[in-house]
Amino acid sequence: MTPLEVGIIGIIALLLLIFSGISVGVAMAVVGFLGFAYISGWEPAMGVLKTVPYTTAASFVMSVIPLFVLMGQLAFHSGISNDLFKTANKWLGHLPGGMAMASIAASAGFAAVCGSSPATTATVGAISLPEMTKLKYNRGFAAAAVAAGGTLGILIPPSNGFILYGVIAEQSIGKLFLAGIIPGVILAALYMVTIYLVAVRNPALAPQGPVTPWGEKLVSLKNSWAMIVLFGGIMGGILSGVFTANEAAAIGAFGALLFFLLRRKLNKENVVACLTETMNTSAMIFLVLIGANIFGYFLTVTTLPQALASFLASLPVSRYVIFIGIMTIYLFLGCIMDSLAMVVITTPIFFPVVMNLGFDPIWYGVMMVVAMEMGQITPPVGINLFVITGVAKDVPMHVIFRYIAPFVVTLIVFMFIMIAFPQTALYLPHLVR
């Protein structure tokens, strides 16, 4: 068998294993390991198993994941997220899907301090899912909305996605960050429209609350001050250079801890619940990341992503057709592999093609991030879906799969909007030239 054939068999085997109910991280590790062994031999495959787990965990950049998860748990158990969502409910609760829209707004706000989608999903999920449950939202729908909102984590700066692309394609990371702002706001708005439409079609998913009088709305604002202080402190700290975006997670967790103590929530029950949730969610994310890395190195040696890319680059059709073809490949690859790995492997092949077609490199960076976002919420391998399943314990994954579909469609629509109006991405970066 050629490596390419092994790659295709590996993907089929991965799908079968995942659907047999084994943990997703383990499934990726098993297939990645066996596939690597078949192509390169046992010793190299053992080499992968020896190094990848440690290196995946021992990362400063990755430390934001458990720390932001901790912050979300502390914010939830101290009641400050409850207050925020009570306020949001007074303002938006009467709209179809109003609270889910509020969680999108929260994701967009949080994305402005956090560069990672899984961390955004975990944090916003921890604070908003329980509130939506209280309001009798369909849990699958609520979870899907948070998973989708979490993708804003890499579109709205700071963003690990833009940093990765900027380094690979040698583009200004500062400009890429600027390019993500307007599309980020547009996508957040599109997600809200999607929620509205879904909720109007099927009101049972998101029960509407009563209309709150304006006086009460304004009064309710004062209850949300704690969360505003926490977010504002993190944002202000990053923007003024007191700490880096990666350090913000620890600062945020510490800030949430202060509220937790000030509100006298320090008791054994709360501490145990808070830490158990944090550790289990982190473990879940890292097992998936370890598996995804092992599987990713296997895909690299199969040369499958490269083969797909070169095939497409050779087609004699319009540049927009080729471009949409590239995005389709990303949609497919994003279903089965970690989106950061996907971009690392394929950018070297696609980037020159796309530049030859005359597209703008900064705009293409935004499109890459959109492709990564798609990968994060498309089943069966989508990190945000996994994270939200970890937070929404009793909601089975396949239920979330069902409700994520409208959001994937929204991302595809958004992609076409970005193709039709590249200036939405390029306006801000061009201002600073």
């Binding site: 995942i18 659907f19 383990v26 053992m46 430390s63 510490f254 158990t276 879940m284």
Partner: protein, 169 residues
């Protein structure tokens, strides 16, 4: 009957206390990590004196956070899986699926743990240390092994439990 008792006994007397202990140490590492970064930022901003090596200490602490919590995730079944097919299975067939998947998981985790053991020897023999503070690398590589061994134990109990249900009348 005997298998069911065995798995419950293993879980109650060995696995659960170990998972709890490991997770607790991992959680302490996470809290320590939080305070380390907060103090580092404070010292840097107020006194212009960051902590040398805070970066690499966080990296080492991350190893504790991740590998000491993995097994508890398996015990409390919070690792993510897709149940779109298995939700329709009942009784012994479902138990059989659980048996097989746990067996496959055990296989890869035994290899991973074995690889971890070999790697401890490698990083010791090559005297690897951290960049700024020269903290030895190998004790943290041992954490990977400890986490792996406990994960294997949880899986072994899962296998015994599933097997007892497969063999049940």
């Amino acid at each position: 009957m005997f298998l069911g008792k065995l798995s419950r006994g293993m879980e109650r007397w060995i696995i659960r206390p170990l998972c709890l202990g490991f997770s607790t140490v991992g959680a302490l590492a996470l809290i320590g990590m939080m305070f380390l970064v907060v103090i580092d930022v404070f010292l840097r901003f107020v006194f212009n004196r960051p902590i040398l090596g805070s970066y690499e200490i966080v990296e080492y602490l991350m190893v504790l956070v991740v590998f000491l919590s993995l097994a508890n995730g398996q015990l409390s079944k919070t690792h993510v899986s897709v149940e779109v097919v298995t939700q329709y299975l009942r009784g012994r067939i479902r138990a059989f699926f659980e048996f097989i998947t746990a067996l496959i998981s055990l296989g890869i985790f035994i290899l991973l743990t074995w690889g971890g053991i070999l790697q401890v020897g490698h990083v010791r023999a090559t005297h690897q240390v951290s960049q700024a503070l020269a903290i030895p690398h190998w004790p943290f590589q041992i954490i990977v092994v400890l986490g792996g061994v406990l994960f294997c134990l949880v899986l072994a109990a899962d296998i015994v439990a599933a097997l007892s249900r497969v063999l049940e009348k």
